[in-house]
Symmetry: C2
Amino acid sequence: MAERPDNTAAISKIRASRAQYADIDALAAGVLSGNRLSLSQSITLVESQQIQHQEEAAALMRLILPHAGGSLRIGISGVPGAGKSTFIEALGSYLTGNGKKVAVLAVDPSSETGKGSILGDKTRMVNLSADPNAFVRPSPSSGTLGGVARKTREAIFLCEAAGFNAVLIETVGVGQSETAVHSMTDFFILIALAGAGDELQGIKRGIMELADLVLINKADGENIPRAKSARQDASRALHFFPALPSGWTPQAALCSSIDRTGISEAWGTVIQFESQVRASGWFDENRKRQLKWWLKESISAELIHLLFNDSNVKNTLIQVEEKVKKMEISVSEAAGLLIRLFRGK
Amino acid sequence: MAERPDNTAAISKIRASRAQYADIDALAAGVLSGNRLSLSQSITLVESQQIQHQEEAAALMRLILPHAGGSLRIGISGVPGAGKSTFIEALGSYLTGNGKKVAVLAVDPSSETGKGSILGDKTRMVNLSADPNAFVRPSPSSGTLGGVARKTREAIFLCEAAGFNAVLIETVGVGQSETAVHSMTDFFILIALAGAGDELQGIKRGIMELADLVLINKADGENIPRAKSARQDASRALHFFPALPSGWTPQAALCSSIDRTGISEAWGTVIQFESQVRASGWFDENRKRQLKWWLKESISAELIHLLFNDSNVKNTLIQVEEKVKKMEISVSEAAGLLIRLFRGK
């Protein structure tokens, strides 16, 4: 007979975590009063994979949601090396210096594969992390893009309920994470650089057209002429894309996170955008659209997750996929087969 | 007691259709021998929504698939008015004139809503339709994009099994249909026009970067200088996008479907592409990727379709969606609720 596994550690961990989250009402009250520890614990709760925690997280979100929505949500993207972290530090400090409360979150579905994560190393935002009016949260360390995105959306709501006026959501600039971040923010900033010549550099396919503002970073010292030329390049490219549904005309501008130039101007552009789209009704309309879109996305992601983690499906999938690639069975037939397996029919 | 409904008409219709498709082996043999009537009937069968037909279609596709794959699949997109139909007629006639067999299909998920359909009016391709080496098939007249895309993919395989060397797949240029067509073709042509000035006109967001070839159409008569300028515009824009995974450098060129200029050059570009990507291995790799992608897409689309057509879900959805928009419940909770309803758990 096999030895009974020793679950003591697991049980005490569960007990501890249950004790920690036992009083969801108290946790919600802490968030609403702006308590940073409560906010941290709440985000940890929504990030947890444990069933028990997920139920508690749902109860927490029910209490929080009526108090969410009060921030400007800013997506910030750019390839690694574009200087996103230093820009966020500069923008964040500018905002807290002007009496705002700033939260910084991240969507980084790649971090589980060890391909590099963002915000994991808090020392990269050493000033902002120490700022009492800023809240810097590392990226959830694992999960699919859908899972990470869900957690980040709920973290936004929690930050808003805790009284933060601006939520900056960084994306690592790989994979599909920009689309996810674009779909949960009001305004999308793309950080770019002048290349070795004077052209724009490091723009991923399909990202340029998500941008409400393209910022040519590192426009300092002898870099300035090249940055100006890259800005013209960006303006031309933005002009080339069809109109945005918001009615906003995307801008291209310069900034230097080191010289701290262009930071207040960038925020001025955000505020100009906000006043325009609040007046037009797009601001509210867009947030409703985003929620509806996320509902469908969440259902889809969750169902797909359930299917591909179903033991019957798992046992058959690779075999079926090979047959499809060899054109031995059609995609439709293979899909039907796997769905019937999943549904037990 | 309610009167028993009179099913005579329905039954005789089913009997007639069963008789029509009774011998799937014979139908497959007809397709493989290049019989146009068998090809037409086979496409009608895969387009049918009836369960009985779907089973027969699956049986047919099993016989057909080993003989599919032998064509170049060309996606052709462009906004309404860009001249897609006349271009397809010109290209198709050029190809049949060079001994090729050409099939023309369409993906037009919007046609169900009456927003205008493509290929529905065959007279638009009057020469090609009458060409014994061409096969012009109107778009399936109803269904979601996923459904229409599936039918079109299976129609491609049927055309290939019937010996067609080139399959041209037109998309109406609205909605998401370009992505679908891009994902089922080897080469993607975007038809554009010079605008009122000399700029490119009628390019939808996100489509430009799918293109392997941008053709500035209607480059004839006094239009030529403006078309040349628009071509430079397109070249610059294509240059701006990052490299394609195929390793191919997208081209921009002129053509006139009326003067029949630029048509053979366009096909030359397709052939140049083909030889490059066959040598690199991308051609086969891409087709395998597409099949794997479509398997996942099909599973996702079918599951979502089943969920949103589930009577329990339907009864609750609008109510839940309103609560989500009003931030009364979270997206996660709403998604979980609807999935549990769907799964009966």
